[in-house]
Symmetry: C2
Subunit: 545 residues, 2 copies
Amino acid sequence: MERTIQKQKAEKALSILMRARMKPNDRTNLSLSPIPLTNAKSQMQQQNSRQNESPGEGNSAPNDSGNSEREFKRVRASMHSAISMNKTEVLDDVLNNFSEGYFSLSHENRRKLLLVLAREYDLNRSQVRDLIKQYLGLELPADKAQVSGSEDEALFSSFYRIEKNLRHALQPVYEVLFERLNTHPGGLRILSILRDDILTILAEENIASLRALDAYLKEKFITWLSPAALELHQITWDDPASLLEKIVAYEAVHPISNLLDLKRRLGIGRRCFGYLHPAIPGEPLIFIEVALLKDVAQTIQEVLWDSPPIPESEATCALFYSISSTQPGLAGINLGKFLIKRVVTQVKREMPHISTFATLSPIPGFMSWLLSKLAASQVLAEGDNLSQPQAEGSSSTFYENILKPEEEEALMSLAKDTATGKNGMDLMFNLLTSTSSKWIHSPEHLSALKTPLMRLCARYLLQEKKRGKALDSVANFHLQNGAMVERINWMADRSEKGLSQSGGIMVNYVYRLDHIEEYAHSYFSNGEIHASNDLHRYVDVVENA
Amino acid sequence: MERTIQKQKAEKALSILMRARMKPNDRTNLSLSPIPLTNAKSQMQQQNSRQNESPGEGNSAPNDSGNSEREFKRVRASMHSAISMNKTEVLDDVLNNFSEGYFSLSHENRRKLLLVLAREYDLNRSQVRDLIKQYLGLELPADKAQVSGSEDEALFSSFYRIEKNLRHALQPVYEVLFERLNTHPGGLRILSILRDDILTILAEENIASLRALDAYLKEKFITWLSPAALELHQITWDDPASLLEKIVAYEAVHPISNLLDLKRRLGIGRRCFGYLHPAIPGEPLIFIEVALLKDVAQTIQEVLWDSPPIPESEATCALFYSISSTQPGLAGINLGKFLIKRVVTQVKREMPHISTFATLSPIPGFMSWLLSKLAASQVLAEGDNLSQPQAEGSSSTFYENILKPEEEEALMSLAKDTATGKNGMDLMFNLLTSTSSKWIHSPEHLSALKTPLMRLCARYLLQEKKRGKALDSVANFHLQNGAMVERINWMADRSEKGLSQSGGIMVNYVYRLDHIEEYAHSYFSNGEIHASNDLHRYVDVVENA
């Protein structure tokens, strides 16, 4: 009977899937790393609130005014009950009320409510002070800060007691709401939405109390979402359409264009794995797409559209070509690292003939880094005419010609009717920002741009850092997981997004099974980026220049 | 391929199941409530350590001497590494080493190791004192202990910072080991075994540092094992034999006598549900057995052995006749409450014609309570001859005749060759403690005992308390979950255990769906025990006497 209902649900969802536009045109906010897609998220949220499992059923349209204040007070009251009720009271109803209410709030009211939570359900500071006084009143034997033998046991038992009480007193009151929601069916999803809202607010304003709440909630998530508690699930064409629909909606790297595309990504020569959590059923928290290939692919075209897949028994390479997380509220919790580790183990066990584990990844920050370099030099190049003082040494800080003389020359010798600029960098800036990336249709432009773009891309990946970590978010993700930079591929992704973010270049990171921990460690402790000789060669040329 | 392996495993386990003695004779340590079976546990542990998933593979035989000290030092060193290593280092190997090492330790070495953990990986108390000093140095505006507006934000940010640091500093160092093991495949199981060992030690000696460690670990378990993270699984005859084998081994209330018995408990008219956790695959943490019946059963015989099951469509009652937990290390973590709630929801959804949710439960503490009452009065009855001073009022404290005059009379009029005693209570004591419960084979004895035993059983269930809670552990379990005491049944369990623990009586607790929360609340807040009129009648007779 249960199964029949599930089947009916699946059929319904499938019919929606068949009718739905699979690739909305307004997907502008695409994310390229495990940081997920904001658009898809709010889209899904609305879908969810229409589904019957969702606490927000029927309440998804925010009130814009009028009864807005009344609404806020009602949700605030249910939040208060959810926190202050005795644990044996009718908590389920209260938590449902709160969840439904929260869904129905406008953005502004959610902000107000979260600030109330952060400020008024904080610590009981006078209780903390009382306990601290008791604690300081205890006599600590001068020579030891730890119990060493049974004779000290009695002495230390008052330490244990007050330390425990102090630990509890230092937990903010909102801890109760978090723990209760986590225990409640559907609660983890609400908490993930709550944190998504918090992150959105914090991106605009720096509010100390809310930041403290966020840090606390993030620690909670890390405990709850232990990878040991997550189920690795291979997503196949036999999965319910309601789950497959989510893969389509959340695929953040290479949008799924139609049903055939989806079927191919789940069929022969392909794998898709997700992490499922029992509290968020039917929806992976994060998923990864894998292609089984003879060689490490150089372009995304061969993975997504070219030629039929090879027989799986002939594959020697598992290529991770997409990883997407579905819960923006779980930002900063690295589930991808554990997912990759488990997928590698799983694939190795199933297909021992596979020896290479690599990615084909975008370089999402490359163009914005490059264009800002080019733009800055452009401005300063103009400033040159104003005879600014140019101290030696400082010149390179303010005006770095990132082009080599032969690159500059090649660029400047392009036909003037299609490419103009005061100097190489200026010209390069104009070419790269021309409407609809005209440069990729011109063999001359492509050939003049290839050398500097590939070299600068290698420099960007290996040398550009922020706080000791790779500047590029996807690079940082794979490097902290223990991968190395193996190869960069010219014209590997000619999609609009691929051109505008990565200059059409894609990179292969490789996970060398016997070096993963070592590489992760040296990256973590001194920011060392392991890369192939191929990659170093691009950069060494610069250094020797 | 994965499936083939699983199938092979299942077949192997099934063959073990068929050969194995299903009901060992030496099952003496049977537990009757969600507190599990110590025997089965250590048995399972040995089995586990023989399986290839177990970290303790091949190491299950404890070293008894000689290299014992070396062994201890090795495991201690791996424990130290597991705690102190940088998080990107080769943690997996270290955690595996520690787990395997721990398995191989003798009981005495485990005790030593756990004390080292509790004492030497405790708090950094000087760091705590430093932070406390910083904290006391902060100026708290006299009139407010909480942030109320954005102008206070800046003021409070140093509070947030130091409070967070203090919270972290108050976490014992062993927190790291717990969190790392929880993240590690198989780690949750190790932690559960660790806690089992701790509870065993604490049952013998009261060691403050170890008690503090236990309290801390218990809190961790409660967070990790959120019922929302547990999967409700209906256990059927189609489940792998490796799982079914565990049901047989852990069934703590009514041992499963053979394969047919097991098959019947999973067949038509029966249900079995378990909570599975992804980190402990293939083994429910707790499971419950349900019979679908026309009426609430009065004896365990009708549930386990009588007549074929009725068609499920005719059932109106779901009877919970057994609930067993499999992890002694999770003692004190009430998973049963959530399990019952979810099973009720699931059964109601599947079979809306079922309107009664009841249990048929043992009263495991009844006989030991009754015998101690009878024995005490026996001693004091002898003391009477020594003309002890008997102040008014105090007499009832020291010598309470728990029998009513007509009960006393009926007992004293039994044939003297089979039943002797100075008075009714003395005679009752002798009858109940006679070898192999001879009294149940004599219609006269049965008839003379029935009235006092049933009445005293009702009194025991409704009135005997410890710290405001029902003295009987199973009664306390169901009452705190929101059940009421509906009916007690004479000669409902004639098994050796049933007679020696519950005097052959069983009790039906009933879960009234619209009163569960209310009953749980009044029991929690003022120890009120809800019971049927039938049950009150037994007790009221006493009070009116």
